[in-house]
């Protein structure tokens, strides 16, 4: 394998069209489609007594109005529970359109189809829904008391309860280890809700071909293959008659892995029913109140430790808010519970979580997916231990690290993929050393002192994480070299800005020995590749990257075999350079892959001059052999299915300044050391880190979902939900460490989510250092800090 392209910061392929305004996002398609819009519940909890459409019927341009009662068969059934788990004893999912009860503001009740979106929304405004109000259940702790219920048949609002315990190596339980620990601390932590909030909302566009009885659906999704299967099942269509395509997608960050959304079923169903193309593009308010949120947890922590700060026992109790429904199961709290352990080997560990229903938008993974909360718990714990013992915070962490010689390291738990939580590789002490150098950890006390003399308050914080990436079960890749010498690569998973067209082309070009320009990549199009899982959990590069590499190796082998016959050489003496197969050391006497592709497909009929070489009288075939030994065509397919996840890791540090008067919080420096194994394209990995940190800064200082006691989301707009602008994000300094994964052929680990994971814990630690006040709740605004100061005075 040449290393020319793998590892190079090659500019992205996709940008050529995107900077020209030639992207094809969902709402750029289907200009001739009619538009859908939805009447959504303005109430958090209510019974629908009546829906009166009479005022709406005369609107010019109205095509159809549908309520739950109009939906046939499986379309009328609740949406699937995507990831069942034995602990999820009371999983509940919504109906595509509300049946009798609405359980959060924004739940869809009526679908309107009209000639355009303006008219459809006019119609929505004329539909009168009569509600009987039910008591809204808002606030995690109130909900956990179970006085009022979100679902009548879910006592205590308790969807799931899971206890996991790993005894200490000497067999002692958490209770015993806590009992005998020299020091014990107990405290509570809170994290508020935030959300993925991609700049492009969700959207669906469906075309029904009545002649062909086939359905083509475009969806702004992170998993086109799964949407396809769900649609075929719900609509009762043969799978081969349904195609789903994820076009250019304007960001996902987790929210678009949920599927099928109500709209994803209803829009195609309406297209079939009406015999017309139908499209729905979500608006921003809909995205706030009708998609999904994440993060909200209350954590109670009890930790026992020794004089060096080594953790002997850790007991964590988590209340997790999963909103009104659980379509994605309990993946988020499972990840919190398992990834909480980070780079540490601790004594006995017990983690209990209760996943609770509230009358709010459902909770499903958002970049980081439960890890930011777990890391917040663990890293705040490390800081508390250091403060208690008067030790340096990095020394306490180092005392707990898993050593570089201890891999594979089994944490004794079951991870989100249902497999043992075994770390494959890493070098945490080296990572910490690099971070301390990058941020200037050891010089900070002097800097702080100097600042204090000028009347300024500054503080430093640090946070470490380990991230299970590249979860299975599998992904596949298909590679075809055509007789024009072009290489066509496809994989089933989707792209939302990660640069897959570029990095997968880098892998294919490297594996095949062809010029980068010859390779094109298609993702998320079931017409090209039907089997896939999806793009989430930092898995695309690991899963599809390796699958494509394996598929390329098959094609390469086939090419060498065919070329060896033509060149009368031994395939083992051949290599491919710049798209030409030749004997090692003799690049001049070679045969282009384009010709090999021709020869791979014995022809009766020529369609151009090149193709004549493969016809029966051309003299290229051995008359004593059957014309076709293998499959025709120079193509190959393979799958990558890992036995378990691969574990990336990283450490962040920040220096913040807090204003002594206004309590304004400013990040002065932000440093990241990141280890995702071998880098395919360092420029793209850095971009992922920058974007993750920016979302982390949003979650630490600005973003929250402000629900009032009635279950109204008070800040459901970009005006009020404060995402960071360029003015809020600090310059991010990065350094890379590469400990290759032994689990996959390319040695890579995922990088998509990493940046966001430790930010809240790092910023909390830095503010705490600046202020000398414990920071136990994130995000923190200047007024929160101001109140904390007053409460402490």
């Amino acid at each position: 394998m040449t290393t020319k392209l793998f590892g190079e910061p090659i500019p992205r392929r996709e940008d050529e069209r995107l900077v020209l305004g030639q992207g094809r996002y969902l709402d750029d398609l289907g200009r001739q489609a009619v538009a859908a819009a939805f009447v959504r519940s303005p109430h958090a909890h209510a019974r629908i007594r009546d829906i009166d459409v009479s005022r709406a019927l005369d609107v010019e341009g109205l095509i159809a109005i549908y309520t739950w009662e109009d939906l046939p068969g499986l379309v009328a059934e609740p949406l699937p529970l995507l990831i069942p788990h034995p602990a999820l004893t009371h999983g509940r999912t919504a109906y595509p359109l509300a049946k009798e009860i609405v359980r959060h503001v924004g739940e869809p009740i009526v679908m309107v189809v009209a000639t355009d979106r303006y008219v459809a929304e006019d119609v929505c405004g004329l539909i009168d829904v009569d509600y009987e109000f039910l008591k809204p259940v808002v606030g995690l702790e109130e909900a956990a008391q179970g006085v009022h219920l979100v679902h009548e048949d879910v006592p205590g609002n308790l969807g799931a309860h899971l206890v996991q315990e790993v005894p200490a190596r000497d067999g002692r339980s958490v209770a015993e280890a806590l009992e005998s620990a020299p020091h014990v601390l107990e405290f509570r932590l809170d994290i508020e809700r935030s959300a993925s909030m991609p700049l492009e909302g969700r959207g669906v566009y469906a075309r029904w071909d009545a002649d062909d009885r086939s359905l083509r659906v475009y969806s702004s999704t992170q998993t086109s293959t799964s949407v396809r299967m769900a649609l075929a099942a719900k609509l009762g269509l043969p799978l081969p008659q349904v195609e789903v395509i994820a076009p250019d997608v304007g960001g996902g960050f987790g929210v678009k892995i949920v599927h099928p959304w109500p709209e994803e079923i209803l829009v195609p169903w309406a297209a079939i029913t009406l015999g017309r193309e139908v499209k729905w593009a979500e608006d921003r308010r809909e995205h706030f109140i009708s998609s999904a949120h994440e993060r909200g947890q209350v954590q109670h922590i009890k930790v026992g430790f020794d004089e060096q700060g080594r953790v002997l026992a850790l007991d964590v109790d988590i209340l997790h808010d999963h909103g009104a429904y659980t379509p994605y199961g309990i993946i988020v709290p499972i990840i919190t519970a398992t990834q909480l352990l980070g780079p540490y080997k601790i004594g006995a560990y017990r983690v209990v979580f209760s996943s609770i229903y509230t009358n709010t938008v459902q909770v499903t993974p958002y970049r980081g997916a439960g890890r930011p909360q777990g890391v917040f718990a663990m890293e705040r714990t490390m800081d508390r231990i250091a403060a208690h013992l008067g030790l340096d915070r990095t020394d306490v962490r180092a005392a707990n690290f898993i050593g570089p010689d201890e891999f594979p390291y089994d944490q004794g738990l079951i991870f989100q993929d249902g497999r043992p939580l075994i770390y494959d590789s890493g070098d945490y002490p080296e990572s910490l050393r690099m971070l301390k150098e990058l941020i200037g950890w050891d010089d900070f006390p002097a800097m702080k002192q100097a600042a204090a003399e000028e009347g300024r308050r500054i503080g430093i914080g640090v946070g470490c994480y380990v991230e299970g990436t590249g979860v299975g079960p599998y992904e596949g890749g298909h590679v075809q070299i055509t007789s024009d010498g072009r290489v066509h690569v496809s994989t089933g998973l989707t792209s939302q800005g990660q640069g897959h067209e570029t990095v997968f082309a880098q892998i294919a070009a490297t594996e095949l020995g062809v010029p980068f320009e010859k390779v094109s990549v298609v993702t998320g199009d079931t017409r090209r590749f039907g089997y896939a899982v999806g793009t989430f959990a930092s898995r695309a590069a690991v899963m599809s990257g390796n699958a494509i590499a394996l598929a390329c190796r098959r094609v390469r082998e086939k090419a060498l075999k065919i070329a060896a016959d033509a060149l009368e050489a031994d395939p083992r003496d051949l290599e491919i350079t710049d798209g030409v197969v030749h004997v090692v050391g003799a690049p001049a006497a070679g045969i282009p892959l384009a010709t090999v592709a021709v020869l791979s497909n014995p022809l009766r009929y020529a369609f151009d001059e090149e193709a004549q070489r493969a016809t029966q009288f051309a003299g290229t075939a051995d008359p004593d052999k059957a014309p076709l030994e293998d499959e025709p065509g120079l193509e190959g397919k393979d799958y990558y299915s890992p036995i378990r996840s691969t574990f990336a890791s990283g450490m962040h540090a920040a220096i913040v300044e807090t204003d002594p008067d206004t309590a304004e919080i400013r990040i002065l420096r932000y440093a990241v050391v990141h280890d995702c194994g071998r880098l395919i394209n360092p420029m793209i990995v850095e971009g992922q880190i920058h974007g993750g940190v920016a979302q982390g800064v949003g979650g630490a200082l600005y973003e929250k979902m402000a629900y009032d006691e009635h279950g109204q989301l008070l800040n459901a707009s970009f005006m009020d939900f404060l995402m960071p602008y360029v003015t809020e994000v600090p310059h991010i300094e990065t350094a890379h460490l590469e400990t290759p994964s032994p689990l996959n052929p390319l040695g890579i680990k995922g990088a998509g989510e990493a940046g966001v994971i430790p930010v809240s814990s790092v910023i909390a630690g830095a503010i705490e250092d600046a202020e000398g006040i414990p920071i136990m709740r994130m995000p923190i605004s200047p007024s929160d800090l101001y109140d904390l100061r007053r409460a402490t005075d």
């Binding site: 991609p198 700049l199 920016a694 994000v729």
Partner: protein
């Protein structure tokens, strides 16, 4: 049916006639009536800047503008930034510096940066940050966008 208005807009140097109801947003008119889907809509309430176009050369939010009020005015969308010889310096710089990921916010940033550099061909870091401070990007963390604008300034200086 609401009253319809026949208007003419000068879009990317071409006169375009279009018939719209008074309430039609300029963003929808460009995207759906004229088929210029490069202009994106991220919020439709004037905060994200994805819909930024140049109205008589000045950045404007097409989601907060009614198409009828743009009648007779010159509009440049992202599709109009490239010249006959290919992508503009700003467009090339964004690609070179990895100033975009999903690309959804990008047309707004490109238009904003184009106007910024026309006013101020050699902006300082603060001036770039200030100039971009009305546009949201959820993917990049902005670092490479700022870098792209500086790079574009360099490219423009080389070209002139």
């Amino acid at each position: 049916m609401p009253d319809l208005h026949e208007i003419s807009l000068i879009v990317n140097g071409v006169v375009r006639e279009v018939t719209v109801p008074a309430r039609r947003l300029l963003s929808d008119c460009l995207r759906h009536d004229l088929g210029l889907t490069g202009t994106h809509v991220g919020c439709e309430h004037g905060v994200c800047g994805a819909c930024t176009i140049l109205l008589d050369g000045e950045p404007a939010r097409s989601c907060l503008t009614l198409a009828v009020t743009a009648a007779g005015h010159e509009i440049t969308t992202v599709e109009g930034l490239a010249g006959d010889d290919g992508p503009s310096a700003v467009q090339r710089a964004f690609r070179e510096c990895h100033g975009l990921q999903c690309g959804f916010c990008t047309p707004g940033f490109l238009c904003t940066a184009t106007a910024l550099l026309r006013e101020n061909p050699a902006p300082t870091d603060e001036e770039v940050v200030e100039g971009l401070s009305g546009n949201l990007c959820r993917c990049t963390g902005y670092q490479n966008i700022v870098k792209s604008v500086h790079r574009a300034a360099e490219l423009l200086a080389e070209e002139s």
